[in-house]
Assembly symmetry: D2
Amino acid sequence: MLREFPLNKPGLHPFAELIGLHFTTIADGHSQCDLEVNGKLMNPHNVLHGGVVYSMADTGMGAALYSRLNEGEICATVEIKVAYFAAVSSGTLVCNTRVIHKSQAIAVMESEIENDGKLVAKAMGTYSIFKAKRE
Amino acid sequence: MLREFPLNKPGLHPFAELIGLHFTTIADGHSQCDLEVNGKLMNPHNVLHGGVVYSMADTGMGAALYSRLNEGEICATVEIKVAYFAAVSSGTLVCNTRVIHKSQAIAVMESEIENDGKLVAKAMGTYSIFKAKRE
Amino acid sequence: MLREFPLNKPGLHPFAELIGLHFTTIADGHSQCDLEVNGKLMNPHNVLHGGVVYSMADTGMGAALYSRLNEGEICATVEIKVAYFAAVSSGTLVCNTRVIHKSQAIAVMESEIENDGKLVAKAMGTYSIFKAKRE
Amino acid sequence: MLREFPLNKPGLHPFAELIGLHFTTIADGHSQCDLEVNGKLMNPHNVLHGGVVYSMADTGMGAALYSRLNEGEICATVEIKVAYFAAVSSGTLVCNTRVIHKSQAIAVMESEIENDGKLVAKAMGTYSIFKAKRE
């Protein structure tokens, strides 16, 4: 159940479109998204910019947590730490994220990012949960 | 002195171009870069994606550290933690970064990101320093 | 104003006593605590255990935040990241902490730890703020 | 194989003795240590001080990494982030740590801390690896 999560619909998530991120799973406190490495995402050393990997984790954490929120709740990133294990220069990135802790107001997620099956980064982050304002 | 840092030249830093990041200072262990918030950088809530803010910090840390490296040295991100203080929906972001510790093999930087003068995020990160391979 | 913060009174903060931590300032979103390095705090390499430095930051963050809480509010550590810049083997440690962001439910603090005037570690951490249960 | 790791011997690791930490496993990039919660480790709210949990992770990471070092190599903590999921007031803490990445100069470990079988904290940290100076 997605509860309005903008799963890949054109126009719904501009930044995801800009970097080519797509979701393949959002359910039960878990999410999976992927992305094809391409020339627009590179840094000056012709290596994938770390911000792309980070963005997969941040987006993936939001999605994983959304699948566990109650009606009328939204969430926001409080902080994320990401550690890099290897440079990426081509291929597919897959980011698996799961909720590892959730209380009423705080949730903690972790993401593992693989490049063609090899673990290249891991992230752990905190989100706050709050009631959406009625519009 | 930039020592080949790809300061804003078209084609040299594709991901910086993709998100609209430009440097205004790189010197003496300090860097400053800025970015105009625009619709392509938004998340589904019409708020700036956290990955953009993170990318400013990551890029800014590399630049700040480059200004302190010796001839023939390069660096890579080991890990970065970023904390968010406010949502951003428009205006200009400015990211100031400085080296707060540097040994032979490790450096630590911190970045403060302001949106129209208001502190909206802070990051602290670790880079490794190593000799570039002769080509 | 301390609002029941157990400033150095014997028996009030057992772990602070165990490691020899004392507060010298708690006010206006800032705290300062210090500690004399001694043999009981060492690791097998005869260097101060990193957990002691961390404990100064964690305790200092709680104290700095307490000075900004409203009546009936308490706080708890959500997460802390600490980075070490130098090994410590003797002398005095002083930890200065300040609140760098505070909303209704979340606060972010940073701590700088000096050993005889030299910066040896820096930490950034998140606390949650909530209403104390009536007893 | 412990390669000089001071496994629980009185006098070898003063801070571990001070807080009551004991190792039960150090092998193949994994370590396990435990600790009985007691009154000396409490904060003013009569809850275990977060520095104790952190110290288990930091000590456990060093031990897990030592089991993977080569002859003549030593390591030091670069940075650790710890996230707390529940307060601890009694019982036994068990900290399991494993190396999740290791290059020549850098290693990344993660630790999970359980209190009587319940996950109460998780940490991810970076260590540097270097040659020990000949004495």
